[in-house]
């Protein structure tokens, strides 16, 4: 063994014992030289005595690090497909197969108000609720008559600065018309902006039809032009020669 190593690394035979000792490997004969020349050789995991059941006695005295007992294998490793392991294929197809819409209002369409804007703007963030929970009593008690006197309001509409609080964003596409109409919505069902939007939609719907009609007319004209008197339809290229 030492001869092989020395031949590999080009060391002279006189330095044979020093070669494997310097490399830190070899047979049992060189073990004494190792201890004499380099001091006690300690492998990293030899310093930690993990106990009998894990390591075989035959492996413990081996000089090779590789001959030590391997760590316990785990069934679940990083290379196993965790999605199939935890039966999340349906969830993966649902969320990653289809396009998920960006806005919060697409997730909660029935929720009133402007929910797509960042909550920091109106100081209604959930983060602030977690970081600074409001100080309140543990129980909820109904309001008594005396407490309700504080909720006597002035008649009339709200001031303008507070009117925009409950306006809902316009929904672009309403394929399915909702049969359930909410009573007494603050906004009229057809605002001027909505009617303009509908008129624009109608115009847009008309425009492609008009364009198609124009195209058809042009085609008809093009077909008629070679069919002038004195010209036959079977000679379309004769016009270009002229």
């Amino acid at each position: 063994m030492t001869e092989m190593l020395s031949s590999l690394y080009g060391q002279p035979d006189s330095q044979g014992p020093a070669g494997p000792s310097a490399l830190g490997c070899g047979s049992g004969k060189s073990r004494v030289t190792l201890s004499q020349n380099m001091g006690p050789m300690r492998f990293p995991h030899q310093m930690v005595d993990e106990g009998g059941p894990i390591r075989k006695p035959a492996a413990m005295n081996e000089p090779f690090y590789m001959l030590q007992e391997l760590p316990m294998e785990n069934e679940l490793t990083g290379d196993t497909n965790l999605i199939t392991h935890y039966n999340l294929e349906h969830a993966y197809n649902k969320f990653c197969g289809k396009k998920v819409k960006e806005k919060l209002s697409n997730f909660l369409p029935e929720l009133p108000g402007m929910i797509d804007s960042p909550s920091i703007q109106d100081n209604s963030s959930m983060r602030s609720l977690i970081e600074k929970p409001p100080v309140c009593n543990n129980s909820f008690s109904p309001l008594s008559g005396a407490m309700l006197t504080g909720f006597r309001l002035h008649t009339g509409p709200l001031p303008e600065q507070y009117r925009l609080m409950h306006i809902q964003p316009q929904k672009k596409k309403n394929k399915h018309k909702h049969k359930h109409h909410r009573p007494q919505d603050p906004l009229p069902p057809e605002t001027p902006s909505d009617s303009d939007h509908k008129k624009k939609k109608k115009k847009k719907d008309d425009d492609p039809d008009r364009k198609k009609k124009k195209k058809d007319k042009k085609k008809k004209k093009n077909r008629r032009s070679p069919d002038q008197p004195g010209m036959t339809g079977a000679q379309p290229s004769s016009s270009s020669l002229r």
Binding site: K56, P118, M126, T155, G156, L158
Partner: protein, 134 residues
């Protein structure tokens, strides 16, 4: 499990609807609306009581804080789930690639070491068993 969420969802929907109607009353208040307003205020408190009762059934449900960041930004929280799944899959692929490369390296190393150190590798194979061919 789904029943607990359905129950909470129902209470939340009623609560939100009550608040919405409260807003309608307040937007153009009339003296005759005072009793209705008082009623709605008490419904709001009873709604909060019902929601608090639901809390006991859901004490073991954990919600990651990152979802709240999505909600605060006005984004769909399902995007968080989607990104988690995509990240998990990407990491799986990355680690699998590393593992496959290391397995190939191990088999190559064992074969080469077997040529250079046949006795030591025989001891290794005796202790650890023969490795399957790569």
């Amino acid at each position: 499990m789904a029943e607990k969420f359905d129950n909470l969802e129902e209470h939340l929907e009623k609560f939100v609807e009550n608040i919405r109607q409260l807003g309608i009353i307040v937007s153009d208040f009339q003296p005759s609306s005072q009793t209705g307003l008082n009623q709605k205020l008490n419904y709001m408190i009873s709604g909060l009581q019902d929601i608090e009762k639901c809390r006991q059934q859901l004490h073991d449900i954990n919600v990651p804080l990152e979802v709240f960041e999505y909600i605060d930004q006005g984004r769909n929280p399902q995007l968080y789930t989607k990104e988690c799944l995509e990240r998990a899959l990407a990491k799986n692929e990355q680690v699998k690639g590393k593992n496959d490369t290391l397995t190939k390296f191990k088999s190559l190393l064992i074969s080469e070491l077997g040529k250079v150190f046949p006795e030591e590798m025989a001891k290794y194979k005796a202790i650890h068993g023969d490795d399957p061919p790569s």
